[in-house]
Symmetry: C2
Subunit: 347 residues, 2 copies
């Protein structure tokens, strides 16, 4: 009965009423936003700077599992994964549009929580929600986010600028989001077998949060700016370190040497990998969803960056003929291969 | 067996392979596009002009029915409905991003046709595909399109600029898309009852095309420019004339007098409405999906526009206290009400 009442609430609000209800608390924080929601398009003034645009489609059962993903976290993450792409261009994120498809199983409260997460992400990162809509869906929850940002031409960092001898740098630590997912999936299976057993996620907050509530690394973009360093190439880590580094090498037509011992892995990530009989390095290389920034810098910039605590130097760029190599802790050399998350593996 | 082979093809291409395969024929036509697909974001240079952005989410079973919608038409329409919003701002459409979610029931050929329609729309309207992705979906087809465009600040037309005495103008004719849909729905029911009966759509090409393959009215934006006329307010007709005119009145805080006899209705639309025992005027007012432009102009612009063949003067703007009125052919006055398409009516 209760659920039916909620459904009626969503229906009785109608499309315009629902979107107005959900976005009523959103503010416009960006001076670049001339017109947000409410006309045929948003109108944005990037004042001669370049416009950056990226989009991501998140589908229930493919990109997220509502049995262990709180709606608020999901809304937050849907924004973060898009902002991360803007930061990976060395840009400033400024606006998002959010379109939602909802099947009738969702209550108004659930959708309010989703938008609460979207709101938190927008406020924290000072981006404006300027468009999108809600619609009913036959397919469960569908979330489509587009993010806009801007940058001066001279500041934009592409994937194709890595030069021989450049240092390979990564922010934060890797593999945590993947092991958070393994934990959540394990507890889901245990719960399905015996609903009386409570999930055992004690002490695992960090890696659970890495999976459910990633933070796009705006701070790293600012840090580099503060140090007067412009990366020669950059990408965000959505599919795993190996896959992203290969993208930088491919697009720059270069090789690389990546040192296993240099890859930053949090102790909790390491320990949890061992509990799952997984190689922590493989989790960092292929796990994905860490949303850290991977970039290359000139060797001359090393002095400016070496004392920063939240970045790691993990290797260097070589000529293309030297190949893409992983140098293991024991000193053996393996070709670097991508086993990143593949959107079709669920089919 | 054949379907299984196709599915294997899509899977074996993988996410990157599939999107590369589907977009291989796309060209970059816009000088504003600095970087299209292939980096973390697209990079666009609107050279000091304002950025316009709009997005639409299209879901199988809600926004389209694949039992009578050819994939090529669907791809074409998904682009048009977004471009229409850019033109409704009096802007130039320049880029689109397209994200697709596919369930395993779709063959590679079907998706190629979908992209063929997207390609045709992009080529015809000279917009660049600059981003998006493909992903698997648990159920059905999900299409999310975002369109970007630009305009000089002085040229942008919002919904809120209508002034008392302004003339209300609409392009093309109305109600056709809705009656095309009624025809397609009727033939679907007949087919489901008896699959041996062939669909009877003879002579109905125009309204079928209005539904399946709408054209955004870029030509009207150009025509107005050629005549030196800037509308005082503008909106595109996606939900029906009544709903859109009420939006202009609401946002401009004005009233209106709309004359039934002036509403442009194609003879085929009129005749088909009668066959369905529907009031042609109601179809024009509330049918939706015509993607014509509804706008207001100063009375002084009448002389510049009166001889144009593809626009109709259908009423005028009044002070807000005079209300929003429909003056029928018999001269009676009714309050104008919106019964536009509601995204939740399918729930």
């Amino acid at each position: 009965m209760f659920e039916n009442e909620e459904k009626t609430n969503i229906e009785s609000l109608g499309e315009f009423g629902l979107i107005n209800h959900l976005t009523r608390q959103f503010n416009l924080n960006q001076k670049t936003t001339i017109k947000g929601v409410g006309d045929d398009t948003a109108v944005i003034d990037f004042q001669g700077k370049k416009t950056l645009v990226t989009t991501d489609l998140l589908l229930e059962g493919i990109h997220f599992d509502l049995s262990y993903t709180p709606f608020k976290h999901l809304g937050y993450k849907a924004i973060q994964v898009n902002l991360s792409d803007i930061y990976a261009m060395n840009g400033t994120a400024a606006q998002v549009t959010v379109s939602i498809g909802l099947s009738s199983k969702f209550t108004l409260e659930a959708i309010e929580e989703l938008y609460e997460g979207i709101y938190l992400a927008c406020e924290k990162y000072q981006v404006d929600l300027v468009g999108g809509d809600t619609s009913s869906s036959k397919q469960g929850l569908v979330i489509s986010v587009t993010a806009l940002g801007y940058a001066d031409e001279k500041d934009i960092v592409y994937r194709n600028g890595a030069q021989e001898g450049d240092l390979i740098v990564v922010s934060g630590d890797l593999g945590g989001a993947y092991l958070g997912l393994q934990l959540l999936e394990r507890e889901k299976l245990i719960y399905l077998e015996n609903p009386n057993i409570q999930p055992d996620l004690e002490g695992k907050d960090y890696i659970i949060e890495r999976q459910l509530k990633p933070e796009a690394r705006r701070d790293i973009v600012q840090l580099l700016k503060d140090q007067g360093v412009k990366p020669t190439s950059m990408i965000d880590i959505s599919d795993g370190l190996a896959s992203e580094l290969l993208h930088l090498c491919d697009q720059s037509n270069k090789g690389c040497n990546l040192y296993e011992e240099k890859i930053p892995i949090d102790p909790m990530t390491y320990e949890t990998a061992r509990q799952f009989n997984l190689d922590p390095t493989v989790c960092a290389l292929s796990g994905g969803e860490d949303y850290e920034l991977l970039f290359t810098v000139k060797q001359a910039d090393y002095e400016n960056l070496k004392n920063l605590v939240d970045i790691s130097f993990i290797g260097y760029i070589t000529e293309v003929a030297a190949g893409r190599n992983l140098i293991t802790k024991t000193g053996t050399v393996h070709p670097l291969t991508a086993q990143g998350w593949n959107a079709f593996k669920n089919e």
